[in-house]
């Protein structure tokens, strides 16, 4: 029996899906193999993201260990590489507790609702040429939509735990997510204008010059905004250990806690993957037709390193400083970037409405000037806004004492 996907099927462009579908189609009826191939793709995606999250948890603990001038996990396996496995076994064998006053059903759904967006986000990211699971023509919007599910999950965790600290963490987390959504979306508009499309494949192929050179301001805003949306230091007010213990996941233990942790580490990887696609040229590079995946992984590694670096270096901000940073610093920057990009595209594009490489280099030059001036001016302005409320008497204030 030979099964062939119709030419109008949206999965026809996905090589891996087609191969699995046709291979299974020799054994099973076409309808069944359609489902089997879909399930196989889902398994690959989910396992890829979760294994990556495990590996990244080890990398980050080692890296932060080095930053803190200590060693980090190094006992089990080569360089301690099997540490995530040990952690997993430990968490799986622990008791899975549910607080007495908790809303049991909602409490149990939360870990799944946390992991799902992280995995779903990867579905539209092209790992190499023609390898995205689906090449959606609304790719960028899809990513934004899927990430917004996380705020619901955080809210569910806070509400269902029946714990004041969890509720504090959840309201802080949602406030941060809602605030940072705005500058992040605004910074992506510049990319969409340049690429003339929301499909991630088109964005990659439009990057004759990587967009972090053409859009330095948008790249900075997106990096800072994503770092805040991922709830990582210096933006981790939602789970600030010294203030509200662990925030929204305080009551979680055992396998549910493992899933929430996997979602947090996996989110760093998927956010890096999205950023690589939008700003660093995706899979493009020398010999991209067969080394594209290697370039992609390398760039993800670089960005994940930057995230760990930021986490190890900066102290935590207060919640009011955090929101001021979003509304008074990142939002104006992203609006300026959007305005500058729109003007440049209007004047530089040719009659057919396209931009060539020279145009992109000119824009890169102008935008770097704009970015430098803006960061200088706004950096001086924001200094006044985030000064601690009380009188400072020269002593070094720790973030906890500052309020």
């Amino acid at each position: 029996m030979n099964c062939v996907l119709g030419a109008d099927n949206i999965l026809n462009d996905t090589v891996l899906y087609r191969v699995i579908y046709e291979a299974v189609g020799h054994v099973l009826p076409c309808g069944v193999s359609y489902v089997v191939a879909g399930l196989a793709m889902m398994l690959i995606l989910a396992n890829g993201v979760l294994l990556g999250a495990g590996l990244f948890s080890w990398v980050e603990r080692r890296l932060i260990g080095r930053f803190h001038n200590r060693i980090g996990p190094n006992r089990w396996g080569p360089f301690g590489m099997l540490q995530p496995l040990a952690d997993l076994v430990k968490l799986l064998t622990k008791e899975d507790l549910t607080p007495r006053g908790a809303d049991r059903i909602v409490f149990a759904i939360v870990p799944v609702a946390m992991v799902a967006p992280v995995i779903l986000m990867m579905a539209v990211v092209p790992f190499a040429k023609d390898t995205a699971l689906v090449n959606l023509n609304v790719g960028i919007l899809y990513i934004l939509a899927v990430t917004s599910i996380t705020s619901i999950a955080i809210f569910m965790a806070g509400w269902s735990s029946d714990n004041r600290y969890a509720m504090f963490g959840a309201s802080r987390g949602v406030a941060v997510l809602i605030s940072y959504e705005v500058p992040v979306v605004m910074s992506l508009l510049g990319v969409v204008i340049l690429a003339g499309s929301m499909s991630l494949d088109d964005v990659v192929s439009a990057q004759a010059v990587p967009f972090f050179l053409v859009q330095p301001l948008a790249f900075f805003v997106f990096l800072a905004g994503t770092s805040a949306e991922l709830n990582r230091t210096p933006f981790d007010v939602a789970e600030a250990e010294s203030e509200i213990i662990a925030g929204y996941h305080i009551e979680y233990s055992g396998v549910k806690f493992a899933l929430i942790q996997a979602a947090e580490f996996g989110a760093v990887l998927t956010a890096s993957a999205v950023m690589v696609t939008l700003f660093l040229g995706g899979w493009s590079g020398p010999f991209a037709s067969y080394l594209g995946w290697a370039w992609f992984l390398l760039k993800i590694g670089v960005l994940a390193f930057v995230f760990s670096w930021v986490r190890a270096t900066f102290p935590r901000l207060r919640i009011d400083q955090l929101l001021a940073f979003a509304w008074k610093f990142l939002l104006p920057l992203s609006i300026i970037n959007l305005f500058a990009t729109a003007l440049e595209v209007y004047f530089l594009r040719d009659a057919a409405g396209t931009l060539d490489t020279t145009d992109l280099w000119i824009m890169a030059g102008i935008n770097f000037g704009v970015a430098f001036a803006c960061l200088l001016i706004f950096g001086t302005l924001i200094k006044e806004k985030v000064r601690p409320a009380g009188p400072v008497t020269g002593a070094i204030l720790s973030p906890g004492e500052a309020d």
Partner: protein
Amino acid sequence: MLFQDIVFWILAVMAIVGALGVVLVPNLFRAALLLIVVFVSVAGMFILLSAEFLAVVQILIYVGAIAILIIFAIMLTRDVQHGNLPNRMQIPAAVFAALLLTALVAVAVDTKWEFLPADQQDRAELIQVNALTTLTGEVLDDAGVSPEDQTEVQESGLADLLISDYVLPFEAVSVLLLAALIGALVLVRPNPGTGRG
């Protein structure tokens, strides 16, 4: 066709059970979560109709923004666990709901749903794609659109329509949102006399 039927029925049952849950579940927080289930099922319906843009916007706006707003509002209500106490408006509410349902069903049955003929189907798809991506002349040539029609396809995107034919409603909505924004700011501004909100 079989798979689409199965998916349709799953989504339909999800949407209806979710919608019933929203009105029948006493716990307000769970009711809000069930409302999200309804939104997601409707987004699934849009995907089934190959309207990815609508599906994504449905998730982005309804799940990402409106549901959060509803949950915030619920946190301000008096008794989340047991819902609001019943009042005397039950009969008027039932009458109004019945009237609304009748009107909607009557409109749905009465409308002549015209399907596009096959030759216009491709054209409609191109226009849909053009709402999100700027189609160049070459792509349109490949799709067999004659040069005279190309401008029409290129300028029929959602964005172009919003700032040409529908610019007045678009601006009116903007002004409305701005008014709401300023109103909210005025409401939460501390009273200058007492220094309290």
